[in-house]
Symmetry: C2
Amino acid sequence: MALTPARTMPGVLELLPLDQIAFQRMLDVIRRNYERFGFVPVETPVIEFSDVLLTKTGGETERQVYFVQSTGSLEQGEKPDLALRFDLTVPLARYVAEHEHDLSFPFRRYQMQRVYRGERAQRGRFREFYQCDIDVIGKDSLSVRYDAELPAVIYSVFRELNIGAFTIQLNNRKLMRGFFESLGITDGEQQTLVLREVDKIDKIGVDGVTEKLRLQLALDSRFEHGSQLTEDTIRKILDFVQVRSTSLQDAFDKLDALGPGPESMEQGRAELKEVLGLIRDFGVPETHYVLNLSIARGLDYYTGTVYETTLNDHPQIGSICSGGRYENLASQYTKSKLPGVGISIGLTRLYWQLRDAGLVATGQSTVDVLVTQMDAAQMPAYLALANELRSAGIATEVVLEGGKLGKQFKYADRAGIRFVIVLGEDEIAKGVVTVKDLRREDQFEVSRAELIKALRVELAQAEVGR
Amino acid sequence: MALTPARTMPGVLELLPLDQIAFQRMLDVIRRNYERFGFVPVETPVIEFSDVLLTKTGGETERQVYFVQSTGSLEQGEKPDLALRFDLTVPLARYVAEHEHDLSFPFRRYQMQRVYRGERAQRGRFREFYQCDIDVIGKDSLSVRYDAELPAVIYSVFRELNIGAFTIQLNNRKLMRGFFESLGITDGEQQTLVLREVDKIDKIGVDGVTEKLRLQLALDSRFEHGSQLTEDTIRKILDFVQVRSTSLQDAFDKLDALGPGPESMEQGRAELKEVLGLIRDFGVPETHYVLNLSIARGLDYYTGTVYETTLNDHPQIGSICSGGRYENLASQYTKSKLPGVGISIGLTRLYWQLRDAGLVATGQSTVDVLVTQMDAAQMPAYLALANELRSAGIATEVVLEGGKLGKQFKYADRAGIRFVIVLGEDEIAKGVVTVKDLRREDQFEVSRAELIKALRVELAQAEVGR
């Protein structure tokens, strides 16, 4: 039989075991923190009805949806009526609308699953990737206080992930909208056009954005006649979007310094002040969050607070956790008004970037101990020892195949297993075991009675240093 | 805008949060035990190239494969070259063949992901379901001792899942094949036909199988002329497949009592004896595993030891964990010989059946504590308290919206949150908190300093009793 080449499709991140362990640890940290803040888990099917997924026009092409057909449906030449989800927000909307009467509001869910997009194959673009989302959904209304809770969760997650200094950046869409109105840019589409350019400020700089806005002024018919985008207006826009705070008081001062504006600007300012103040009460240090008036986040979806999070020493990675407040989650499925606020961590891309930048440690297995085999006749002793260790919660593998001891050590080393136990005739007679610590390149003898305690101490220390 | 009905496709199990928590706990128990035995995690993409998935003929229709196409490919009228995996074994074979040179052997992996089959919509049939698999893969060879390790893992998993008494049933395909040869049924296809009938013994009983075998004798051309299936042969087959052991010694005795046979029967008997004996050394009580010579497990794939696991008090549920030994994992992708042994738990179906039978407890949230809101002005105090609890690993939600206290209690009750903390002016002045235990319908006052200790004790007790 001719062999089929074993391969995966482009755009997926398949990991070797030690990398998968590092990835799994990140998932665990995120989940633990989401749960600690009182979010409950939801999982939805990967496959949804296409008409449910694609209620918004233009979504299909834009999102590069993957359509799904069973063998039977394909054979009958039917059009696919199933598709893979492209994010977790549409399934959340569907879930809340479908189960509305069985849920308690505010509904606080976390969801950590993979999503699918038929992206062009390209380095760093993924067709399958994890999203780790939390959202708080209110029925009819939802206090702006929840907008302050999510940065506390972000802080808690990234502190424990231990991937370097980070900053949560906040803005408010009402404030932005109000500000544009104050400049005479009142039309939503106009605002969108300007926001799209402004969003690039961290990439192309102030001069780049100024240039783009001037081009806008010259080229776009919506601006030609009204001439709102005068040089003075452009300067004002650029002054606005360059606002960054250095402390909470500084954020308050800079917000006040914007001067009075139309109602939505005042609303946005009041919300931002409340949220920024509460974030401190949630225990987030002032060093870890700032006002950043250039953050716009998507152009239609968000309506109030918006967040981005960046690594201070790796700005090129971009936002590692984003989100914001939205007016109504599920208007395509239900007449109920369901305002919410949420954030999302795109973990596959983040992990890939961190690994690329050498910021994730790998090399350590989930297996703590390898019990070697000196003599097959002693198998019951090896198995009894392994049983003891496992009962104490220490992940243990026993060499069942045998072979030279050197080869067994090489296996442990390659598999990233830290402790190797040798239990020979001598050791059994003396009631001790020899433990080789492959990480420290060290070894020690310990009595059987003390073994578990000794290993636990070492493993707990490793956990702290991780 | 007309509303789109929010709904999922038939054949998926979407859970409400408290059920999802119960499901997640089962996943966690399985993972913890897999890791404790030294298995390392692997995840593979849900989408694979169709030609990689479907190397074996007949697979496509039989497995009811879901094919996948991106928007672009669909528009161009192309045939789909992508598909969703229908199990975790084919992806494992592809993974091992693809990464062979980066893996350490024996390769011990666990994989807990969803798989997809376009099943006919029917109660209890799932189109999307979790499989939780472990396999040990050897390079060139793999000691039969590993066949004894997997029952130890099964024992450990199901003991901790705590879903009632269970029995791991073992057989060996070589023993069966040798036994059939000794009856003159030497042709593989003939054996397959007989095995297919014998496999039904637990469903249709001895008389049912006898009847089926008689029909076989009368109808099937492969038996008509050779006439191997005499009444005497049928009786011998039925005596054989009814063999069950009551203890390890009894298993040895019953294996010996089968009498001498051809080489493969002797091989199978020797393997079974070694495996059964080692399982005891692995610490599995004799009450939890038996010899059952009717177990056949699939008809082509397995070549040696085969397992099924049943709940003693719920035989109608059928096997809850099955697997066995195979000769060569990935012959379709590589010339390397990769023998292995593995088991699989189909968790979605199992969970669904257990819930149906009232065997999984739900109703308790991952959220341990709800901090109520008496007075919005005290928000900083509530948040500081929540912070303390979270730092101690206690999952805590704070009511940020406010509203009547009674409504807040009702929310906690409905959401399955056990402890509700009341922190009023009095309590703050006295340095205490009032804790309501909604499960015990009890309440107590405790000093702030003692709160964490008190809650930890209660939560640890609940964990034990779970």
